[in-house]
Symmetry: C2
């Protein structure tokens, strides 16, 4: 995946966190926040927070701090959350269901337009008013409905095929839950969520902790 700016991914991955913390502040009717206060909440250093934000512009005011509402809105814009993204889900299993039912994505502008599977038993059914179609129809559906993001929730074996169809249909981004490194052209954005890798980190840390405890004895 090619990158198009010199903002580091480390910064990019902190942006959704800032966004979430600011939302929380707004929910608690807090209007104003300094980098120092944000530091306490987020665990990042105040210095880092100011550096991060200044990658995108000077959103604060000396002597005052940041206006929580304004900063929240600005970060939303930076994250591209001021737009609508049409998505399709491939794989109508439990994970596909979970994603389709997660209403927070809708709220943030991600709209599921279709769900695809190869299992004849589920095809023709509906999931939250969204039709489940055969994977044969994926490419045309993506084309006809200007889908921008494909969400791959298939088993490993179908994931590359799904990606190929999505790309032929013209999606710009893929959110991939299959434990596979998809082969995609340079201009297509892929974000992987690899649950095994995440779980294995837990077992690693448990083992590390245990070993360290043993040494102390």
């Amino acid at each position: 995946m090619e990158r198009f700016s010199n903002i580091s991914m480390a910064v990019v991955r902190r942006l959704p966190k800032y966004y979430r913390y600011l939302e929380e502040l707004l929910n608690n009717d807090i209007k104003r926040v300094s980098s120092q206060e944000l530091s306490k909440i987020t665990g990042f250093t105040a210095s880092q927070i100011r550096q991060d934000l200044n990658c995108f512009g000077g959103f604060g005011q000396q002597g005052y701090g940041y206006n929580a509402e304004e900063l929240h809105k600005e970060i939303g814009k930076i994250l591209g959350l001021d737009r609508l993204y049409k998505t399709v889900i491939i794989g109508a299993g439990n994970l596909g269901h979970a994603i389709a039912n997660y209403s927070n994505f809708d709220k943030s502008g991600f709209k599921t337009m279709g769900i695809f599977d190869v299992n004849e038993k589920v095809i023709g059914g509906k999931l939250k008013d969204i039709e489940i179609m055969h994977m044969d129809k994926l490419e045309d559906f993506v084309k006809d409905n200007s889908i921008t993001i494909g969400i791959i929730c298939t088993p490993k074996a179908y994931s590359q095929e799904a990606a190929d169809l999505l790309i032929k249909g013209g999606v710009e981004g893929i959110w991939n839950f299959a434990p596979v490194d998809l082969k995609v052209p340079d201009h297509v954005i892929v974000e992987n969520v690899n649950l095994s890798e995440s779980l294995f980190t837990v077992s690693y840390l448990l083992k590390e902790r245990e070993e360290s405890n043993n040494k102390k004895k």
Copy 2:
């Protein structure tokens, strides 16, 4: 979360990837692999791969490379995959179902012993031979069955409560899918999977790409 060794998290998060790539090599009957070949497959530099592996010991042989099977096994041990982990899932919604049904975790030594919810409609039912119980019983169940990992698949609002019960019951690690920073004692390991943060990265990158394209015109 306290750390117990000086291995950096950057290294730790690459280990599951090495493990997965080696598995693939083994499936293709490849017995031997050099850091250079691994570099081609993984996208990491050969130098980085050798550095990473040497954090844990010298698994290779000069002039030969690494024995794929042995290295796979060793990394498995490092990740703590040579053990059995008893887990519980809290939240029997779609995501809980997806996790419970994901057979790969079983294969890696993670065994779901119980599922918990507050919805009377699902309590008493079974999911893949695993009983769905009321969250009231969570703490005792964790204690009585020596559960080591709790998997939180509840809505945001229940996640801290679930974490508290798990910790009172004595779990050592929490795999958290709720978009919340759980408050836990220092010795408890928490691994967050925040789907919104992941999805927002996609929209960020789409927007970044578009802006860069606009500039070129």
